[in-house]
């Protein structure tokens, strides 16, 4: 089901809550190093699907392999081998930059020497040396985002899940964040990202759009625009999500 170039593969993956089908037989694959946009209206099933893929929620049926592990039987291995960053709560505001980095390194089970080396390297690479003893709450938003993204990658996961990483963020910082995504993808990290900004959907290599628990469309932005005869992703999204 999964060759070496594939980091996520699902087949008829489903989740039922009583009579309600939140995720209805979704099948898709994501390649290594790909920037994959996971879109859908509120309530379409995105969050439920993401929880299953990150090992936080047991699926009802189907198959899913993430980073080489089965989400049904190896959810702890899945968690250890992925990175995750949400819009909020990613960093501890009352801890310093350095403490946050060490904390995440510890959570992901890096050895003591690795932890020291990685922390120093990360702080240096992000240019945060001068503020490493400052509380995260005092950092500008752009720096916080950089830091949150970097700690999500501190254990060198094959794939990083980003759940609306740019919501409410100013336009310049939002674009700086996408630079980080591009850099990570260039290093071979797979990026799985959700967003409500349709211009950001265009920055993904491929996009899936969920409607009522199903993946209604999956392709490159260019192909989707052709298929739906739309001039931008906003129009594609409106056509698909309105059609229910």
């Amino acid at each position: 089901m999964m060759d070496r170039g594939t980091v996520i593969a699902t087949e008829d993956l489903s989740k039922h809550f009583g009579d309600f089908i939140a995720v209805n037989k979704i099948s898709f694959e994501v390649r290594r190093g790909e920037i994959f946009g996971f879109l859908g209206a509120n309530g379409a099933g995105k969050t439920t699907a993401m929880k299953m893929l990150t090992g936080l929620l047991q699926p009802s049926s189907g198959k899913a392999m993430v980073a080489g592990y089965d989400v049904f039987t190896q959810s702890e291995d899945v968690k250890r081998n992925i990175g995750y960053m949400s819009q909020r709560f990613s960093l501890y505001e009352d801890l310093t930059v350095k403490e946050n980095v060490r904390f995440y390194a510890g959570i992901y089970g890096l050895s003591w020497t690795e932890r020291r080396r990685k922390s120093a390297e990360l702080i240096d690479r992000l240019g945060l040396l001068e503020v490493k003893r400052d509380r995260v709450a005092e950092l500008p938003l752009g720096w916080k985002q950089k830091l949150a993204f970097s700690v999500a990658l501190i254990h060198d996961p094959a794939i990083v899940f980003l759940d609306e990483p740019t919501g409410g963020v100013d336009p310049v910082t939002r674009r700086q964040f996408w630079d980080l995504i591009y850099e990570a993808a260039e290093r071979g990290v797979t990026v799985f990202v959700t967003t409500h900004y349709m211009d950001e959907a265009e920055y993904c290599e491929r996009i899936s759009i969920m409607v009522d628990g199903k993946i209604e469309a999956l392709d490159t932005p260019a192909a989707l625009k052709r298929q739906y005869n739309a001039k931008n992703m906003d129009e594609v999204f409106l056509k698909l999500a309105r059609g229910k």
Partner: protein, 304 residues
């Protein structure tokens, strides 16, 4: 209708608002556009009489927000950014509660909320806490409207809401404005600016542009180009190194490039990109949007 004169507000060391001034005439749909932390919520809380300004003065319906707070509260509607209804009450109970508080009934002002209420009706007996995000937002709007306010304040009603629901929400706001209600709405989405009569751009507690959307777009003074047809990251990287570049920003499937001087042509830009291993890209003039103006301002601020 609403006036704000040199209003400043600080929370300890943080200057949330720095001498903000603007006016909104009756019946206008005014958008306050800016990211998280810009000062939007602080401004809303001052206008809805929930906070005192440190300096300056604000009036709503000709009433002072400090002295006449009681009178203002009866005549404005406020939908806070954070969902603030009673989660344990049903949809209907919430609306009835707000109607009663303001001494009215659902029936009396039904015409105002009808369009939104019909969408909520199937969930009438559901507890507010069990509603989806889109439905919560509709309920909150209903509750803010039930006493037929003359001014409606909506703090980030569309944050975290998908594009389809956002569009529907704005259609509702347009209808309310046609019914004569003055609407002041804040949003971090730059594309929503075009739905407003007038907008104010806000960042770091400063309001730096107040005009019609067209007026704001016209303030962009540098030559602006659209570059498309290649992969985003290589295009961005190459254009950042171009000697004539003032700024480079990704915009969906294309790049917006502002150049420092007049006199650079599309052919020059395309030729430069060819030398960087990116031949055959489309280059053409681009009209500036609100987001270009916003970034033009905030980049100057970052550098200054």
């Amino acid at each position: 209708m609403v006036t704000v004169e040199s209003v400043s507000k600080s929370f300890r060391k943080v200057e949330a608002l720095r001498s903000v001034s603007f006016e909104v005439p009756k019946g206008q749909l005014f958008g306050l556009i800016g990211p998280d932390g810009a000062g939007k919520t602080t401004l809303f809380r001052i206008l809805t009489t929930l906070l005192y300004p440190d300096q300056g003065k604000a009036t709503v319906l000709g009433l002072d927000t400090v002295k006449d707070y009681r009178a203002i509260r009866n005549r404005v509607g406020y939908m806070p950014g954070k969902f603030s209804l009673y989660q344990d009450l049903t949809v209907e109970e919430n609306i009835e509660f707000f109607a009663t508080i303001f001494g009215t009934t659902i029936r009396r002002n039904y015409s105002l909320i009808r369009d939104i209420y019909v969408l909520l009706e199937p969930f009438r007996t559901r507890k507010a806490g069990k509603l989806s995000g889109g439905m919560k937002q509709k309920l909150a709007l209903c509750c803010a409207l039930i006493h037929k306010p003359e001014v409606l304040f909506l703090d980030e009603p569309t944050t975290g809401v998908d594009p389809v629901s956002r569009k529907e929400f704005w259609e509702n706001l347009q209808k309310l404005r046609h019914q004569g209600i003055t609407v002041i709405v804040s949003t971090p989405y730059m594309d929503e600016a075009s739905m407003c009569d007038r907008v104010g751009l806000i960042q770091g507690g400063e309001l730096f542009g107040i005009d019609t959307p067209e007026g704001i777009r016209a303030t962009f003074k540098h030559p602006l180009w659209r570059v498309a047809g290649g992969s985003m990251y290589p295009m961005l990287k190459a254009l950042r190194l171009y000697e004539h570049t003032l700024s480079v920003h990704a915009f969906g499937d294309s790049v917006h490039l502002a150049t420092k001087h007049q006199g650079i042509t599309a052919i020059d830009i395309a030729a430069y990109l060819s030398t960087q291993g990116l031949p055959g890209l489309e280059v053409g003039p681009q009209a500036a949007g609100i987001e270009d103006v916003f970034m033009g301002f905030s980049t100057t601020q970052h550098d200054g």
